[in-house]
Amino acid sequence: MLSISIDETVLPYQRSLCFAGARCDLRTNSPELVTLLGDLSISGSRSNSSNFTMRVVVAETLRDGTDDPYFRGLHHVVIASFGESNIFVFDILRRTLSAHVSGVVARDDSFWKEKLIPITLGVLGAAIGLVPVHCACLEVDGHGLLVAGASGAGKSTLSVALAQAGFSYVSDDWTYISESEDGIVAHGTSAPVKLLPDAVRHFSSLQRHALRTSMNGELAYEVDIARTFSVRTRRECEPRWLLFLERTEGAEVEFTPMCSAEARNYVSAGVERLPVRLHEAVALRERTIELVGRLPCWRFRYGGSPQFAAEQLLDFVVSRRQEICA
């Protein structure tokens, strides 16, 4: 039996980090992990007051890489494992993550960036004032645009096209929303943009990259958007509009206003059901979802290329901005 005691006396290295506006107090026995997570930390200008603690024991002698993920949860505790050596224990009530990982995983930059940090924000989000919303987020001149839609609707492809058309990219798949003094803030993470194989038809620069199997089993390009497409990125913005994507056959676009109840229902449907005992976290989450639902909201039906849709959206946003300024 391997017995691991995660005690601060055996975790001499510490650092204050920030992910999606949430402060994270890291303690570990690995200086390499401190450096790695420090590089992924994003000092948001509007970090919220909530925080969580991450305590990670690194077993340097273990060489195991990550295996398929396995998740289970009961009441306030969620367990995630990636093979026998890499076990993560989330305590939602106490806002802690306790972990044991191999030396190999502690140095695996992409594991933390693409998997563990998004998972942590998703699991602890409700307790730390973050609502994960299944949408892309882009920003132009301080105005944020949330782009929602079912998987396969083209959020990521359109995000890249919008970024190439002059928007700043925040996120392509999951955006973390928190309350601020004067509304809501949308946060991205440093996770790569994920594009399905047919995206190479629209973005030739993807030819230099290899397809790989993503965490949900899909074959996809997972690339750093700034490096691959030379576009601007931002880590947070204030959302002004919410769009729901729907693909159509012909090369046409149509904007149809939607009611706030539909927006709220969409966001609510995407968040994880929580046990009754986490009622405070549920209430906090509900308040943020209510604020998201108050955003002006449209259904955006489009066909044709993502570049064509991006041009139409840019015109739409410019006209909406003029309305705001008027």
Binding site: I6, R72, L74, H75, H76, V77, V89, S268, E272, L274
Partner: protein, 140 residues
Amino acid sequence: MNGERGWHPDLLRRFVATPYVFRGGAESLACIESNDLEIALSLWNARFICRGQNNRELSCKVIREAAGSADGAEMVVISDGPLRVLYQGRTILIHDCESAEVLGFVSSDVKAPELVSLLLPALFAPQSKEFVTTGAFTKK
């Protein structure tokens, strides 16, 4: 939205129905829930006596998994503050000593007597002065 809406996928198996419920009286301050009668009975017959903080009732919720195998996997026990987690293959047991709760998932190849006589004692080991059983457990 509240925590009871049915259209969220239960990816973590948090909301598996546990129809087998045993609640103790004066001698055994236990509440045991499971989706597996054999597990529930074995836990009940082990007669937990909780002497945890504030003499709180021990709550025990254990889910039998339909699949999974320990398959020679090493048993790993992780302790951090009030939480202690035992992990072996697809078996996960959690003990929160502050809230006096035992939560867990037991893989299909683990027999209920093994859960009671081997895995739970390993989970409780450091708190053996707080948790004593009069049944299948060895009194420490």
